[in-house]
Amino acid sequence: MSVADRIARALFGFYFAAFFVYLFAPLTIMAVATFNKSRFPTVIPWQGTTLQWFDELWADTGMWQSLWTSIVVAFFVVLLVLPIGTAAALLLTSLHARARSFMYAVMVSPLLTPGVVIGISTLVLWRQLGVGGGVFLIVLAQASFIICYVMLMVTARLQRFDRIQEEAALGLGASKFMVFRRVILPFLKPALLAAGFLAILQSIENYNTTLFVRGFDTPLTVYIATKVRTGLTPAVNALALIMIAVTIFGAVLYEVVRRRSRGVAVR
């Protein structure tokens, strides 16, 4: 190995280590600070180990209120995005070349729109109709772009669908509705489950869009951001830690479902 190669290897090793420190150090520090007695979340100086911040979080009614708001929003978002996303995917796969790529571009356009703009446009439209910000508008604004993800995931699954199954069912005397209900929907189930998970996560973690349409309601992300500015204590870290644990658990579950959905397709 030449000297230049060795230097290159050493440099890459350093970069690699730095990359992962960069990736995990902030999250680790945030997590560890939960257990420090210091009123401002930090790890230096260490003022003693405590679990008091979990108690404080538990006693915080504002947090429970905002958690409930987020759950309600996520529930209705899922209810809205799964049927619409599926319908969009079925429509898309029934179109021919030109119309298809046009519709595709239209359907992914919300993903290319900045989140704040989605929030603002929804707010402005509904004020015209006499409806102010709140849970209802948060659901609509979030759904408008979360549908794109559902559409993409269902479309990906449909591309592996063998249309012969459809014709076989029809040939055996099934109605068109039965084909949809008994052949296509079961085939899509893994993709719909995965898309549902993703939709819940996207909904709960959204901030940029939600901020503009929230009215007087305070979902969890808005609550956290407000706390950071008005009175950050490690209780917020405790909340972060719990959310991270739940998210990673959800992510693992999501991966399992996704892998299984792939497995079915291969068989």
């Binding site: 990359f19 990736l23 945030m30 790890v43 439209l125 509705f177 940029n208 956290i224 991270i244």
Partner: protein
């Protein structure tokens, strides 16, 4: 369309079309049209709405062009977002290359898993993590003081904080497209370049980067768009001197009370993002169909 009816019958097809229409017309198109309508009208007291002064004009957009502070913040947001995209690219490229070409299948699997973990976590929490790390009396300053790199704590909140937080938030949007692009490059092409005497540097510049152009463009475009439209990073990690364009928009809505001007500013942001996205993709010859993967 006829195909849809043939497959699912009239009843189901009508339901499907109805659902898609509700989405595209009701949730996407109508709000955007109304936003443009707001942007082009003056902000009037309720009594005067529909009156003789309620006419379309470009006043709200011209206001942005003439108000020097807002204009400066707008241009700053544009170049700072481009800088975020560039820094993210520099940070991600070597790792993407290593993952796609050098690493074993097992290494790739492990590293990709490790990479995705932080990105399942909410953007607000990731930004909060940086807020804690960069605090004036926080861990980063303590470490640097201890190492003797600095002898006074540094105020990181501001431009540096925003840049660090945003780069962190958007790494995956850059890494995955580039990784996918480089992965499709045959190893033999790199070896051929090497055998013909090209240096490492030249191989990247002449063989790998041109091949990965589409992935790089996709990553940059998404990062730029997300950065320009971000609110949380500048709100938490910024300082009064580092305001972001989205913060100005927010102020028009919830502090300035002029929704028309706010809508005009939002429209400018939307047009900016769409222009940058479409032009970049055109130059790099990326199809929109390949972007959303």
């Amino acid at each position: 369309m006829a195909e849809l009816f043939r497959r699912f019958g009239a009843g189901l097809s009508t339901i499907f079309l109805g659902l898609v229409a509700v989405w595209l017309a009701g949730l996407v198109l109508a709000p955007n049209i109304m936003m443009v309508d707001y942007a082009l009208r003056p902000n009037l007291p309720p009594a005067e709405i529909g009156g003789p002064r309620d006419v379309y004009s470009l006043d709200n957009i011209l206001y942005l062009a003439n108000e020097s502070v807002h204009r400066a913040i707008f241009f700053k947001t544009v170049w700072a977002s481009a800088l975020v995209a560039f820094v993210t690219l520099v940070v991600c490229y070597p790792l993407a290359y290593w993952l796609a070409q050098t690493a074993s299948a097992r290494q790739t699997g492990i590293v990709l898993l490790a990479l995705t973990i932080p990105f399942w976590i909410n953007e607000v929490l990731r930004t909060l993590a940086w807020y804690i790390l960069l605090a004036f009396r926080g861990p980063l300053n303590a470490l640097l003081l201890w190492l003797g790199v600095i002898d006074q704590p540094v105020r990181w909140y501001g431009d540096v904080g925003v840049l660090a937080g945003m780069t962190y938030a958007y790494i995956l949007f850059m890494l995955f497209p580039i990784y996918n692009a480089i992965e499709s490059l045959e190893k033999s092409q790199i070896e051929a370049a090497r055998d013909l005497g090209a240096s490492v540097w030249r191989t990247h510049l002449r063989v790998i980067i041109p091949h990965a152009k589409a992935g790089i463009a996709t990553g940059c475009v998404f990062t730029f768009m997300l950065a320009a439209g971000s609110y949380v990073a500048p709100a938490l990690l910024g300082a009064p001197g580092s305001r972001w364009f989205t913060e100005i928009i927010y102020n028009w809505f919830f502090e300035g009370g002029d929704w028309n001007r706010g809508a005009a500013y939002a429209m400018v942001l939307l047009v900016l993002c769409l222009t940058v996205v479409l032009i970049t993709l055109k130059i790099a010859r990326v199809n929109l169909t390949d972007v959303a993967k």
